[in-house]
Subunit: 139 residues, 2 copies
DNA sequence: TTGATACATTCGTATATGCGAATGTATTTA
DNA sequence: TAAATACATTCGCATATACGAATGTATCAA
């Protein structure tokens, strides 16, 4: 029961839903990718990722100086049902559509993690991520 | 998006989940049924029912001096997925099991709405609901 | 018409949650 | 070693939410 309310609390925030939308689309992303695409501060992204991690919706993998977040497989078929429904609902939301095209442009411009997912570019490959473009922080 | 966070906020509270669990089991219940079975105050039940009504998860029908709450059909297949997942998860929770047996006992004892659902009794029928046993209020 | 019942709403308060600002930690580059 | 980068955490504040107590509004019985 506690586990269930924790899950729904995690899904009851627009910022976290927008982050999940990006992860549904890209599979995996680092914090600074999410910062740029959504225009969030680093603190804000980090806090929400901790929440999603705690709920075991996402996994965090440290690679060098980046932390790559990706979706975890749902632990039960029931949770899979809920997340599948969520995914289909969120795909239709206007903000979510906009965020996905922003993500697409960011990937083509050569972002951190998304770059490896971008098909039509001869640009940055994973190995070259060390020459990483500067993020535009707010604070 | 706003609609989605409203839905998940509605599901992110243990009291509302326990109420939904009863409605999954009984189909329809009045406020005082829920009060008795869960040991909630009338104010608490009423407030949570408003939330669930606002989210269009439940419907309220006024019958005489009772208000009968029942589950609505989900508006979209996507929402149906989410609620189906929720239902299966909550069915497994320990508290939810206990609440359902308490509901069962209450139905056999002749509660308001549940009485009409109780098969093994010659007791109160819907038409006789006016002779309604006193609720044990807290306040 | 008076009182009881069933439910809704308002009010003040306690707690939870989200936020930016500031700071801390690990990693990489120069 | 010093500076920069990527991310996490802490802190104080603003807002949201849940709660009981009190009150309001129908409905029905006597």
């Amino acid at each position: 029961m506690k586990d269930l309310t924790t899950l729904f609390t995690a899904l009851a925030d627009p910022s976290r839903l927008r982050i999940l939308n990006l992860l549904f689309a890209a599979g995996e992303l680092c914090v600074c990718d999410i910062e740029r695409v959504l225009g969030f501060t680093q603190t804000k992204v980090s806090r929400h990722m901790r929440y999603l991690r705690r709920t075991r919706i996402v996994r965090a993998d440290k690679r060098g100086r980046w932390v790559i977040y990706s979706l975890r497989n749902p632990e039960t078929p029931e949770r899979a049902l809920v997340l599948a429904g969520l995914r289909r609902i969120i795909e239709q939301a206007a903000v979510a559509r906009k965020d996905r095209s922003a993500l697409d442009q960011d990937i083509r411009a050569g972002c951190c993690v998304g770059a490896s997912l971008c098909s039509n570019t001869g640009g940055a490959k994973p190995a070259e991520r060390k020459t990483h473009r500067t993020t535009t922080r707010k604070g």
